[in-house]
Symmetry: C2
Subunit: 244 residues, 2 copies
């Protein structure tokens, strides 16, 4: 591996910034980790000791790289980062999915990854054009949950449909939609929740692809934040039905 560059989308590797995301990467995607960067001032800290221990167990090199860490993190301090090779998985056909269609904000995507994992959804697709899934900001916002998920990026939604032609789709949109609380009265064993772009939502054509769902809110706000909408959708689709 040549010397490290500041992150760019065209690189075949990226960085998991911070102790916790680096640990998650080493634990859940050890085969992807190329090395671990540590700031010289972090030596002796508990987080650093744990990280070194884990890296050694995985035969991953740990190196001091103050300058690379500074380049990586901009203004914020960053004392550790795992350097990992990007990956793409086959999503599991027998599990629920989340599809993010053309999301534009790395914080939102990271937060949705974290929320999906918290509710037991392990398969996430992104549809281009979209924010960079492997951008260190996305990884950071996901708190490293990216490494516990199966993820795949599609160039178009039609490609996702080709891979999974028979699933029941629930696009979150206003057109022709059912309130969420009604939609969950009849949830099939596998399903796909689809969320659109922060500004423009989903194209109107998605209304004919499945059962459109809306989260009822009043007209005093333009819309819900994307990550909030996804959080509510994920919670409602996964929480135990018998309590209702």
């Amino acid at each position: 591996m040549p010397s490290l560059s500041p992150y760019r989308p065209e690189l075949d590797y990226s960085y998991a910034p911070g102790f916790f995301p680096s640990m998650e990467c080493l634990i859940h995607r050890p085969e992807q980790v190329r090395r671990v960067l540590l700031h010289s001032s972090a030596r002796g800290r508990e987080g650093a000791e744990k990280l070194i221990c884990l890296a050694e167990a995985r035969h991953v090199r740990v190196e001091e790289a103050d300058r690379a860490l500074k380049n990586l993190s901009g203004k914020e301090n960053c004392y550790a980062a795992a350097v990992f090779a990007k990956f793409a998985d086959d999503l599991r056909a027998d599990r629920p999915h989340v599809v993010l269609h053309q999301p534009g904000d790395s914080g939102n995507v990271g937060t949705i990854l974290r929320t999906a994992l918290g509710f037991g959804i392990e398969d996430v697709a992104l549809v281009r054009p979209c924010v960079d899934l492997f951008d260190p900001r996305t990884v950071r916002a996901s708190m490293g949950s990216l490494f516990s998920l199966r993820v795949r990026i599609y160039d178009a939604f039609e490609e996702y449909q080709k891979d999974f032609p028979t699933r029941q789709l629930f696009p979150f949109m206003l057109d022709a939609s059912l309130p969420l609380e009604e939609a969950i009265q009849a949830v099939p064993p596998v399903w796909t929740l689809i969320f659109g772009n922060e500004g423009s939502g989903l194209p109107a054509s998605f209304a004919t692809l499945g059962q459109p769902v809306r989260i009822e809110s009043n007209n005093r706000v333009d819309s819900l934040n994307l990550a909030i909408a996804a959080g509510i959708g994920l919670y409602t689709f996964t929480c135990p039905r018998d309590a209702r």
Copy 2:
């Protein structure tokens, strides 16, 4: 009013950055607006014309202030901002409340304000030490919904309790808690949802103050993001019961 400073918490005024938040400020809090700043390059744009029209109707001065806008927004472009005097309201005793206890992230607080308004919750308290409610970043993340809400900042939770001694409190925490879906089986007409700090949550003592509630998620993530937890709580407490 003297010449404008970059935002600092000790100022008695702040900025609503962007066309939409500025409009919201002029529409919902006209008495608080001191002036409207416009970038010279924004003249003739539709958003600028609307804003000027609204400001004139409210007898608010509009001025070109390219440098003040640049100071205000840092790296991002900002073409308009309403300068507004900070405010504090009496929360309404006969309405549901949200209390954010020592929140540390302005993006989370802004997103929660927007979500609360979207679900019809108009009364929000913050408890110090906390992020600055009037920081332009909070205002921006709220998409201007701050100006449609009644807000109050308390130095301690006890002060909130003194103002509202008999309300049913629902602290979101893990200790001794009911799953959310059970808690909403018996929701009183007025209630207060309480959310703790992003990192540390609520102090254990809150478990004895009311009915602790938890959002059930698995142990594969450390916790849900604060704004996501609040979004799920707000949605679940406000969505029509008859669909359940």
